[in-house]
């Protein structure tokens, strides 16, 4: 049995428990923020994260949460977290599970090929403003049921 591989899996599982601070119930791993994870023989963890948008104000909090999660795993001696400038984040990195959670719990849609569907009725939405409450979200309107919807872009 390879102990190092087990530790990598354990740290990955712990990091996956960290939710996006502004999207409760949605893991940062499912949102595609985790790009690199390694553990050396001494239990030193290196984590590479990708911000959704540069200048995202949640980065320091996410770092803190990820650090705490990784440090809590038995066998971990140190945690080093860096934000990578490449590859760039895009909505393609969001997992199907996160898409489902965003739609059902938060009524947030995710763009696919430049389009978004209303989480409530499935109708294709129409952009009303490319500026939503955060940099990664635009405001759309559903012509079907009339809902005001935030769309991750």
């Amino acid at each position: 049995m390879n102990v190092a591989v087990d530790l990598v899996d354990a740290v990955r599982a712990a990091v996956a428990e960290v939710d996006d601070p502004e999207l409760p119930g949605v893991s940062i791993v499912d949102l595609g923020l985790l790009e690199a994870l390694s553990v050396d023989a001494d239990g030193a963890v290196s984590i590479g994260l990708i911000p959704t948008f540069s200048g995202c104000p949640a980065l320091s909090l996410i770092t803190e949460l990820v650090r705490a999660a990784a440090a809590g795993v038995e066998g971990v001696r140190s945690v080093n977290i860096t934000f990578l400038s490449a590859p760039a984040w895009s909505v393609e990195r969001i997992s199907e599970r996160a898409r489902e959670q965003l739609a059902t719990r938060l009524t947030v849609a995710v763009e696919r090929d430049g389009r978004a569907e209303c989480p409530r009725c499935g109708t294709e939405t129409v952009e009303r403003s490319m500026f939503g409450p955060t940099r990664c979200r635009a405001i759309h309107r559903c012509p079907g049921c009339g809902e005001a919807i935030e769309v991750m872009r």
Binding site: P21, P57, T107, V108, R128, G132, P133, T134, R137, E147
Partner: protein, 306 residues
């Protein structure tokens, strides 16, 4: 789409925990109350966003600047969503709501009628006012009968919770700082304690329509007390003095009791005659008229496309 034979049947639906959607039938009274509530919230997000924006160039350091930028975008984004939902109720168009706001004909929360003159004020707003707003919003979200508003509130609450963590971090920095920082926040606390307390409004009347329509689920005094019980011990614990000579901690009950509240300020403030109301509304109105050409251009493009 739900229809009702009578207002009694509609009220029974509400009493049963029913959720009203935009295209459902609703009593005129309900429509008017829900609209008024969401319009007030939307106006407050917009005016709050503009207040926040004043501090983008003046923030102490890049990290705080990012925080203020993000908060500004959050508030304006919330206003945008809320104006859409309010307009859908068909009482006023979005343009009418904005024009009423900028002409001083409608209301926004009392806390945005005061000047934020120092960084200490910004910390007090982030720490105390945002927390008060969050407590109110959580209570509305818990049992709100109007579906479109409730769904937006869920996301707003997640973001406000994030603002609150920022506020806590800002307060910790200043509380653990120099005497100058301590005094800066104490002076801000002296200015903001009462307005933050009054954000909850006076005690609810027993026949409060907002409660009957399940827009609010808890009376104002309960929410206000929740806030006092949380923040009075924290602030005094950090070594600050709460500007209420009657405030005391009852060792038997463990509760913090506050003195009588002078509501005269609140009445004037909500009539748009608060300490900084004229300047704030004037600034917002000026931005609205300065950007008329953008709206005209967008309208022209839309007309051409049609």
């Amino acid at each position: 789409m739900n229809r009702w034979a009578s207002t009694e049947e509609f009220q029974a639906f509400l009493d049963d925990g029913g959720i009203v959607e935009a295209d459902d039938e609703m009593s005129d009274e309900y429509r008017a109350e829900v609209f008024k509530f969401i319009e007030l919230h939307a106006n407050s997000e917009l005016m709050g966003g503009l207040t926040e924006r004043d501090w983008i160039p003046r923030s102490p350091g890049l990290r705080r600047k990012m925080g203020v930028l993000a908060k500004t975008q959050d508030e304006i984004g919330h206003a945008h969503l809320l104006y859409m939902v309010a307009a859908d109720l068909g009482v006023k168009t979005r343009r009418q709501m904005l024009e009423d706001l900028f002409a001083g004909r409608s209301r926004f929360h009392n806390v945005f009628h005061y000047a934020a003159v120092t960084w200490g004020d910004q910390v007090a707003i982030a720490y105390l006012v945002d927390a008060a707003a969050l407590i109110s919003q959580q209570a509305v979200f818990k049992n709100c009968s109007y579906g479109p508003y409730r769904r937006i509130l869920r996301r707003i609450i997640a973001e406000e919770g994030f603002h609150m963590r920022h506020g806590e971090e800002m307060l910790l920095t200043i509380a653990e700082g120099t005497t100058i920082q301590h005094d800066l926040f104490q002076a801000a606390l002296d200015r903001w304690w009462l307005p933050a307390l009054q954000l909850f409004g006076p005690d609810s009347k027993p026949d409060d329509e907002l409660m009957r329509f399940r827009i609010k689920s808890e009376p104002n005094e309960v929410l206000r007390d929740r806030w006092v019980q949380k923040y009075a011990p924290l602030l005094t614990g950090y070594g600050f003095t709460i500007p209420d000579p009657d405030l005391r901690h009852d060792p038997d009950t463990g509760r913090w009791e506050i003195g009588p509240i002078d509501w005269s300020h609140l009445k004037a403030t909500l009539a748009n005659a608060g300490p900084d109301s004229a300047r704030r509304i004037g600034n917002a109105a000026r931005h609205w008229s300065d950007t008329e050409w953008v709206r005209d251009a967008l309208d022209a493009v839309a007309k051409e496309a049609a």
